[in-house]
């Protein structure tokens, strides 16, 4: 198992490492402190003891100073391993009294603290001078004692720490485990989500820690949106199927007719009609594919520079909208100067055809559909106007919503067209709106930026732009 593979092991490792480092620091520091504290203790003890010794030898100072020094055994105290060794000398350095454990030294020690090596043992000595009586007393403790003292102190601080260590370790483990518990809960909840029925996570978000609560909320939002999208798509597929039914019915009926008659004229007529219905369906399927694509990003694939007014003129001339025998009048006066834009030519064509089809559908035979193209510095405006019955205000927005349209049963075929128009317009970062005309009917107004996208494809024509810009009007 790789270390760091799981959040748990990472956290644990990090915490234990920190704990270990802390422990090492405590030990090292503690040892140093213990040692220094012990040295201080020793010095304090020496200082106190020296004064004490002077007090006690007072009655002894009467004795003959030439007598050999006497040894005194010192009492053992429980706090220290032994009482400090002491020595009393006269001002001129002659030893008067000395305890058995005092290191034998030739000369007297200087007043205050000093350190001496005697017989390979280090001694800490404190000397005070009593000038009135002409004596000086020294007390000494050796390094072994000091080390022992240091060790005691060290052990006193370390032992509890060491005993706490396993407890701390367990506490660390437990807190990491507990801390990660909400994550595990989220994981369980997410695992429980079924792809076919997306629902919000089965958790109480309020009970979760803040950061994970945010995560859970974000996940829930995503699931909601995904669910909405799936519902949308299902409705769309159902609606699309429904849209195809009528032309299919037409095909079937015409085939039935062909099967029932040997009359060549009737058959020929039926086959023509069959062809028309198939064309309708081909076009409808094309719309559906376009619409499906438009739900994704990246609709705009093939943007290049082209002449918008000649495209419109082409569409109007083709008169594609007249699937019925009746040709509708479409009035289009091209502008004086060619209007160039950078956009996806086929998508713009689809867009204009859809708008024209809608306009023609609602117009009576004699009413013309008007197309106007105006060009400005940064954008172009295409107006496609009809003299149909118009649209109530509340539907002006809804009419672009594909699902709304197809769900309404009253109109046929208008369902997808406007949604596709909207998708194309938005892919070009333009805008489209339906406005009522004072003379009745509706104008669909499309604005497209002249440079829909600064795609690499657009740069292809960059060289020709220089040549063409001379032709462009203000």
């Amino acid at each position: 198992m790789k270390f760091g593979a799981s959040l748990q092991s990472r956290l644990l490792g990090l915490l234990l490492l920190l704990l270990g480092m802390g422990l090492v620091a405590v030990v090292v520091h503690g040892y140093g402190r213990a040692d220094r504290a012990a040295a201080r203790d020793v010095d304090d003890r020496l200082r106190m003891s020296a004064a004490l010794v002077l007090e006690t030898i007072d009655p002894l100072s009467q004795r003959d100073s030439t007598a050999p020094p006497r040894s005194l055994s010192s009492n053992r105290t429980t706090w220290w391993a032994s009482a400090p060794a002491f020595e009393i000398r006269t001002r001129d350095g002659r030893v008067m009294l000395r305890s058995t454990d005092f290191p034998p030294m030739a000369e007297s020690s200087p007043p205050g603290f000093s350190t001496r090596m005697v017989e390979r043992l280090e001694w800490r000595i404190f000397t005070i001078v009593d000038p009135d009586r002409g004596v000086m007393s020294s007390v000494a403790m050796n390094a072994v004692e000091r080390a022992g003292r240091a060790r005691n102190r060290f052990e006193d601080t370390l032992v509890p720490v060491m005993m706490a260590l396993p407890l701390l370790g367990i506490a660390v483990l437990a807190s990491v485990w507990l801390g990660l518990k909400p994550l595990r809960r989220i994981e369980r909840a997410v695992r429980g989500v079924k792809v076919t029925e997306l629902r919000r996570l089965d958790l109480d978000v309020r009970k979760m820690p803040r950061e994970l609560g945010r995560l859970a909320r974000t996940l829930n939002d995503l699931l909601d949106r995904q669910q909405g999208l799936m519902r949308h798509q299902r409705a769309f597929v159902a609606a699309a199927g429904h849209e195809l039914r009528t032309p299919l019915a037409g095909c079937k009926t015409q085939l039935d007719v062909i099967g029932r008659t040997d009359d060549r004229t009737v058959r020929a007529h039926a086959m023509t009609k069959l062809g028309e219905a198939l064309e309708r369906m081909i076009r409808l399927v094309g719309q559906l594919m376009l619409f499906a694509k438009s739900e994704q990003s990246g609709l705009l694939r093939d943007a290049r520079r082209f002449d918008l007014d000649s495209l419109i003129a082409e569409i109007v001339a083709d008169d594609v909208t007249s699937t019925a025998a009746q040709h509708r009048r479409i009035d289009y006066v091209p502008p004086a100067v060619p209007v160039e834009i950078v956009a996806d030519r086929e998508l713009v064509r689809s867009m204009i055809e859809n708008l024209l089809e809608n306009a023609v559908r609602v117009s009576a035979v004699d009413d013309p559909v008007e197309v106007v193209l105006t060009a400005a510095e940064t954008h172009v405006t295409i107006d496609i106007c009809d003299r149909g019955p118009g649209l109530p205000d509340d539907q002006k927005e809804q009419v672009f919503d594909s699902f709304h349209q197809v769900a309404r049963r009253s109109t046929t075929g208008a369902g997808l067209g406007l949604s596709i128009v909207k998708a194309i317009v938005e892919a070009h970062r333009g805008s489209v709106a339906l406005e009522a005309r004072s003379s009745g009917g509706i104008c669909a107004r499309v604005r497209l930026p002249r440079h829909a996208v600064d795609a690499g494809a657009g740069d292809r024509d960059h060289q020709t732009a220089g040549a063409r810009s001379a032709r462009r009007g203000p």
């Binding site: 037409g250 095909c251 079937k252 009926t253 015409q254 007719v257 007529h269 019925a324 009253s410 046929t412």
Partner: protein, 218 residues
């Protein structure tokens, strides 16, 4: 039967018109709800085929208006809309039949026959009066078991007379059954048809009711 077809799709409407005509019906085809509103009162239609998704006045609204204003003609709804709701609503507001597109032409005509029978209070497709019997499904007539060779129009006239056996059927009714709005009968075409029928059935079988129409008798 004289059929009123209200359907906006050009190919389907055309197919239905041609197909039903081949079946011997006379079809008037309207493409718009507003246009169709006053149509039933005008002529004696045997059945109305109504699409729900119409431009102008929607099919459901037309249905409601017709039934409210006392139009009793059988109505068959032909629609692409699936789902019980639309079906239930249409049937409860007075439609007699509900068909989903696409529908088989043979099936459609069978349903029309069923509606026709029900409207006439009959239970099968055979009209029998004495030695004369008509099979409405096959559009064939028999006299004492022997098949009669009749044209489509002749059968239609005979059918109309046989449906109202021993009762007078007016000229107008007969002509309305035979000819849609787009075909005007020539002034004496009905007489010619009756004459031909008499030749095949026997003169006495069809009696002329002066100034009114004709009557089929035994």
């Amino acid at each position: 039967m004289r059929v009123l077809l209200v359907e906006d799709d050009p190919v389907l409407g055309d197919g239905l018109q041609v197909g039903l005509t081949l079946e011997g019906h006379t079809v008037d085809w309207l493409r718009d709800g507003d246009e169709a509103r006053d149509a039933p009162g005008d002529q004696e239609f045997g059945v109305i085929i109504l699409d729900l998704g119409l431009p102008g006045c929607p099919g459901q609204v037309l249905l409601n208006e017709w039934r409210r204003s006392g139009v009793t003609i059988p109505i068959l709804i032909l629609t692409a809309l699936e789902g019980s709701e639309a079906c239930i609503e249409a049937l409860d507001s007075g439609a007699d039949e509900y068909c989903l597109k696409p529908v088989d032409l043979a099936e459609l005509t069978a349903r029309l026959r069923a509606l026709q029978r029900r409207a006439a209070g009959r239970v099968d497709n055979h009209l029998t009066h004495g030695p004369l019997s008509l099979d409405q499904a096959a559009r064939a007539a028999f006299l004492t078991g022997k098949p009669l060779d009749l044209s489509a129009y002749e059968f239609s006239v005979l059918e109309a007379l046989a449906e109202r056996f021993d009762r007078t059927v007016t000229r107008q009714t007969l002509e309305s059954r035979l000819y849609g709005w787009d075909d005007g009968p020539e002034s004496n075409s009905l007489e010619v048809l009756v004459h031909k029928l008499r030749a095949k059935l026997g003169r006495e079988r069809i009696r002329t009711v002066r100034g009114v129409g004709y009557r089929l008798v035994s």
